[in-house]
Amino acid sequence: QSITIAIGSEPSTLDPQLRDDGGERQVNDNIYETLMARTPTGELVPGLAAQPPKQVDATTWQFKLRDGVKFHNGEPFNADAVVASVSRVIDPANNSEQMAYFGTIKTAEKVDDLTVNLVTTGPDPILPSRMYWMKMIAPGYAKDGDLAGAPVGTGPYKFDSWNRGTDLKLVANADYWGGEPQIDDVTYRFVTEPGTRLSGLLSGEFDVITNLLPEFTTNVPKFAAVPGLETSVFVLGTDNEVTKDPKVREALNLAIDRKAMAEGLFMGYATLAKGSHINPAAFGFNEKLEHYPHDIEKARALIKEAGAEGKPLVVVGESGRWLKDREQIEAVAGYWAETGLNVTTDIQEFSQYLDSLMGDGPRPDAIFIANSNELLDADREMSFIYHKDGAAASNSDAEMATMIEAARVETDAAKRKALYDDIQKKGHDLNYTVPLFNLQDIYGMSERMEWQPRVDAKLMVSEMKVTE
């Protein structure tokens, strides 16, 4: 059988190691494999590794490799391939955008044909998770093949053709070590507009479309929703005139009727964020926290108490980047206006917005972001938003920064988890952020498709089935 999947953007390249590019990943996830993998529910399991890695010392992790795996071009997958893959990504000359994930890796050493040691610059408890992100390439093909245009991996699907701008086709890998997948070939179509994707699905051209709007779940033949990687949140400027008062910040959290928003905006396909912006599927998520209640009376009282009535509050955001971003921003601004603050929204053009989010200028009172965590580990989101030096952080809490740094090098999983719980509790109590929702990914499907999407948002064709 063949299916057609409509994805939002065309890969800019098919080189799996250089770009941080959603379109590229959606295709290459089927061609390449990684040492570690995740189950559809997010549990970290060995992939090309034969078993979970062992920590040899504080900075060395040892991976045993699966035997008998072959690349599509016949090259064997072995320690050399891993070393070549790792070295290529971290080679500064390649200037890979994925270094955000692999910055801690110092080197890879071959132990024997099926054993590799990965050495990190410091203690790195997240390394196994990181290796879930690094695709393994064939060393020979990397030298003289066309990695960017005609990829060769070990995965269940082989590259077939790519008409730039139009479509890209993969065919099943009959020799796949995990068994030949059910679907024979898959065609990707690149359709930016959600409306166009939907119409393609409705007209029967597509079998799977990504990012279905919640409103359309009733219109499509079939759909599947799964909690996704993105959490929407407002980061509050804790040093700003008005928002430096914790009472004000608390009021901002209490003013919002998250349930109504989830129902109204997302038709229920959004989970209320529980006290922080950490993804519930991620390691380190604090299950004990509850979402902030909706209590507009108290919020008003708090604002009055803080003497902030009529004070200006500028809400910064963008439009069109994330699901219903503007809707969320404007809805929240509406709730906040009810507390008595003088709220204005500033929807910025994206590059300007990025500057507001991560630039050196003064921090906005509140800035919207839909944060995503591909590694499903709390470290990244905490460093990004809670750590005072984090790119999107708006606080100057040195104590919190220390806690985050401690957790980052703690290799004992239980201890690390406890640390993260504390950090989240602190962030929650001090109202550093206004977390909104953990957004669900919704996929539209044609009648004949059978598929349960994954929490990590990977489009694994080998997990799909067609009933005819």
């Binding site: 730039r164 179509r189 359709v191 507009e193 166009t196 393609g200 051209e205 991560m358």
Partner: protein
């Protein structure tokens, strides 16, 4: 003739130079090229290296000369988005756009002449009023809207045609028709109006006095006279299509042409790619202009070529 082509080419060079100067002023003087062209995450070192690479440290005149030199050698730099030479991306997408335009404008031309002629024969008649109404609507309908409505009706409700993308001939139908409507309306009205004018000219009186039938007069006499203004108006439409309509239509139908690429390039802040697109289109427009002038000359021996 040769002199004419040379002169026309020279004017073309002036156009391209004008576009170059405009782009230079806009990107280098109005905007800060480093901020515009590098991603926000670029490091200071990268910024400095880039500034050096495009020669920002040099005097404006030198910068401009370099800019012109690069363009003359079709060196538009690497697309930031696609990480390969921008001109490569442009040449890859250009045929798709040309295909779309050929289909759309071709249909418009083929349909407009009979429609306009028939309307002109009976101004105020039923056919005429119908054509005029549709024409006026065609001129009033924004193409993006028309495209969406067409998708809603023909692709989703009736399921006759695919909604978007490129591939089979069926994929071409909706975008080409959407693209065709405005030019079709404009052409038809123009054919009709000039046909009516032309039919009132003295030479038509002569032809009638020669005892020729109306169809022969239309076919042999007036049609040829309409061709010259028709050529020039279709030239304008072609330019408008190339540099405007396609952007919208390709976006609506996810047609992988230059127009869609332009929108994506801007969304991704890929100014190099955008520049390359603008220049290639400008260049095409110049070529089209020359071709049309030569064609007009072939049709109308009176034309003074200048």
């Amino acid at each position: 003739m040769l002199e004419f082509i040379l002169r026309r080419l020279f004017q073309g060079v002036l156009v391209v130079f004008g576009v170059t100067a405009t782009v230079f002023v806009v990107t280098r003087l109005v905007g800060d090229p480093v901020a515009l062209m590098l991603p926000l995450s670029a490091t200071e070192a990268q910024r400095a290296a880039f500034a050096q690479q495009i020669g920002l440290d040099q005097p404006i005149a030198t910068q401009f000369l370099r800019f012109v030199g690069d363009i003359a050698t079709l060196d538009f730099g690497n697309s930031l988005w696609q990480r390969r030479p921008a001109i490569e991306v442009v040449f890859e997408r250009l045929p798709n756009t040309l295909l779309l335009i050929a289909a759309g404008l071709g249909a418009a031309v083929m349909l407009s002449i009979p429609l306009g002629a028939v309307s002109a024969l009976r101004p105020g008649g039923l056919v005429d009023r119908l054509t005029m109404s549709v024409g006026l609507l065609g001129l009033a309908m924004p193409q993006f809207w028309l495209g969406l409505v067409a998708i809603m009706i023909f692709a989703v409700t009736l399921r006759w045609l695919p909604t978007s993308g490129m591939g089979t001939a069926a994929h071409l139908v909706l975008p080409a028709l959407t693209l065709a409507l405005t030019p079709l309306a404009r052409f038809t009205m123009m054919v009709r109006a000039s046909m009516i004018d032309e039919l009132n000219k003295p030479y038509v009186k002569t032809a009638r006095a020669k005892g020729l039938g109306l169809t022969r007069i239309l076919r042999v006499h007036t049609l040829r006279n309409i061709l010259v203004p028709f050529l020039s108006i279709s030239g304008w439409e072609l330019i408008a299509t190339l540099s405007g309509y396609t952007v919208v239509v390709e976006t609506v139908f996810a047609w992988p042409g230059l127009g869609l690429t332009a929108v994506q390039a801007i969304q991704r802040g890929d100014l190099f790619l955008m520049q390359a697109i603008v220049f290639v289109i400008a260049f095409l427009i110049v070529l089209i202009g020359i071709a049309l002038d030569i064609l007009s000359k072939a049709v109308d021996p009176r034309m003074e070529l200048n």
